[in-house]
C-alpha cells in the first residue's frame, strides 16, 4: 500500500517552506544554551557564598565533592546520552538513573563523613532549609536548559527522560551544595540535599511530559 503522489508533493513542499536546523546548528545552539545556563548557575552559587570549607578537613571536602561530582557525571551521562539510538535509552536504564542519584549521593556523603570525627554530628541551627534553597536555585536553570535543548525530541518516554534530566540537574546541584555546606547530619541531608534532588526530578518529569514529547510539527 503506497501513499498518494500528492502527499509526497505536499510533504516535500512543506519541508522546503519551513527550513530546519542542521546537526551543526543544533549542536551549536545546544552548547550555547547549556554553557550559558551553567555560567549563570555558577554566578548564583558564587553570590550565595560559593565554596565554604569552614572547619572541614580538606580530605573530607575532596572526598565528598569528588564522589558527588562522579555520581552527577554518571547520572548526566545516563540522562543526556541516548545510547546511539534515536529512540533514547530503555525505560529500565532511565529508572535506574533516577533511583541512583539520591541513593548514591546520600550513601557516599554519609560514608565519607563517618570516617571523620563528628562528621555526622547534628547542627541544631541548620535544619537544611538554606541548603534546600541553594540546591533548587542552582539546579533549576540547568534543568530548564537541558529540557529546552531536547524539546519535542522524545517519542518513547518523555516523562522518564525529563525525570532523568531533573535527577542529573539535582545531582550537580547537590555537588555544588556539598562544597557550600559542612553538615552531614542525616535529617539535614534528607531535607537540604536529597529533597531538592527529588523535587527537581519531579519538575523534570512534568517538563518532560509537556516539552520533551513528540508533537505534530506546525503545519503538519
Amino acid at each position: 500500500m503506497m501513499p498518494t503522489d500528492s502527499l509526497k508533493v505536499r510533504v516535500l513542499e512543506a519541508a522546503r517552506n519551513s527550513p530546519s536546523p542542521t546537526r551543526r546548528q543544533v549542536t551549536r545552539r545546544s552548547v550555547l544554551v547549556l554553557v550559558a545556563s551553567w555560567a549563570i548557575t555558577l554566578c548564583i552559587f558564587w553570590a550565595l557564598g560559593g565554596v565554604r570549607p569552614t572547619h572541614r578537613p580538606l580530605a573530607l571536602i575532596a572526598g565528598t565533592a569528588a564522589s558527588a561530582l562522579g555520581i552527577a557525571l554518571l547520572v548526566a551521562w545516563g540522562a543526556w546520552g541516548r545510547g546511539r539510538s534515536m529512540v533514547g535509552r530503555p525505560r529500565p536504564v532511565l529508572a535506574f538513573v533516577i533511583a541512583l542519584a539520591p541513593i548514591a549521593l546520600l550513601a557516599t556523603k554519609l560514608a565519607w563523613s563517618a570516617r571523620f570525627p563528628d562528621g555526622l554530628a547534628e547542627w541544631p541551627t541548620r535544619a537544611g532549609f538554606k541548603c534546600l534553597g541553594v540546591c533548587l536555585s542552582t539546579g533549576i536553570l540547568p534543568l530548564v536548559a537541558a529540557v529546552y535543548a531536547r524539546r519535542f525530541s522524545d517519542p518513547m518516554h518523555p516523562v522518564l527522560s525529563g525525570a532523568a534530566l531533573g535527577a542529573a540537574a539535582g545531582a550537580f546541584a547537590a555537588f555544588l551544595v556539598d562544597l557550600w555546606c559542612p553538615v552531614a547530619y542525616l535529617p539535614h541531608l534528607l531535607l537540604g540535599h536529597v529533597l531538592p534532588l527529588v523535587l527537581l526530578t519531579v519538575v523534570g518529569a512534568v517538563l518532560g511530559r509537556f516539552v520533551l514529547r513528540v508533537r505534530p510539527a506546525p503545519g503538519g
Binding site: 500500500m1 522546503r16 546537526r23 518516554h157 505534530p216
Partner: protein
C-alpha cells in the same frame, strides 16, 4: 538521513521514498482510514524534517520513524477517543495463518469466520503483544528494531510475538509449529 542531518536538503526526498511506504502501511492498518493515515504520515515526516539536526550519527532511521509515527498515532487516538481497528485479513495472510489452518482460498464463509475470530483474538490480546506482533510480522521490522521502537529488549519482543502467535494459532485451530516456518 545522515546526509540530510548534515544539511543536504535534497536527501529528504530519498528519505521519504525509503520510509513513507512502510510507515503508511502501518498507519493505514492502525487507522483503517486512508486520509487519516496520510495525515499522520505527513506529521511524522515533517517531525523528522524538523528534528533532523538531532539525528545521531550512525543511528537507525526506521525505529525512530516508527516510534514517532506510533506516538503521533496514540495521541491522535486519545484525542479523538476513537478505537483503533485492526485489519485482520492482512494479518492472516502476512502470518500465514490461513494456509496453516488448511482453509481453502475459495471458502469465503470459512475465511470470514477465521478473520473475525483472529480479529477478536487480536483485540483481546494485551497491547504489548499485539503491537509487537504487528511490528514484526506485518511491518517487517527485525526483533531488534521492534525492541527499539517499543523501548524494550529483544527477548521481550520475541516472547510477546510468540505468545501472540500462539494465541492466534489456537484461535484458528492451526497446528502448532515454528513461527518462521509458516
Amino acid at each position: 538521513m545522515e546526509r540530510y542531518a548534515c544539511g543536504d536538503d535534497a536527501a529528504f526526498e530519498r528519505l521519504y521514498d525509503a520510509v513513507a511506504p512502510r510507515l503508511f502501511s502501518y498507519l493505514l492498518r492502525q487507522t483503517r482510514d486512508r486520509g487519516r493515515a496520510e495525515d499522520l504520515l505527513q506529521q511524522t515526516l515533517l517531525h523528522m524534517h524538523k528534528a533532523r539536526g538531532t539525528f545521531l550519527p550512525g543511528a537507525e532511521v526506521m525505529p525512530w520513524a516508527f516510534a514517532i509515527a506510533r506516538r503521533l498515532l496514540v495521541d491522535h487516538v486519545r484525542k479523538d477517543r476513537r478505537d483503533r481497528m485492526i485489519a485482520a485479513a492482512e494479518m492472516i495472510v502476512a502470518a500465514g495463518l490461513v494456509s496453516s489452518a488448511g482453509v481453502a482460498a475459495d471458502d469465503l464463509v470459512h475465511a470470514r469466520q477465521v478473520e473475525r475470530r483472529v480479529q477478536e483474538v487480536l483485540l483481546a490480546l494485551p497491547d504489548t503483544q499485539r503491537v509487537a506482533f504487528e511490528l514484526v510480522k506485518q511491518d517487517g521490522l527485525s526483533h531488534a528494531e521492534a525492541a527499539q521502537v517499543l523501548g524494550t529488549t529483544v527477548a521481550a519482543i520475541k516472547q510477546r510475538t510468540h505468545r501472540a502467535y500462539t494465541a492466534l494459532r489456537v484461535a484458528v485451530g492451526a497446528p502448532s509449529g515454528r513461527e518462521d516456518e509458516s
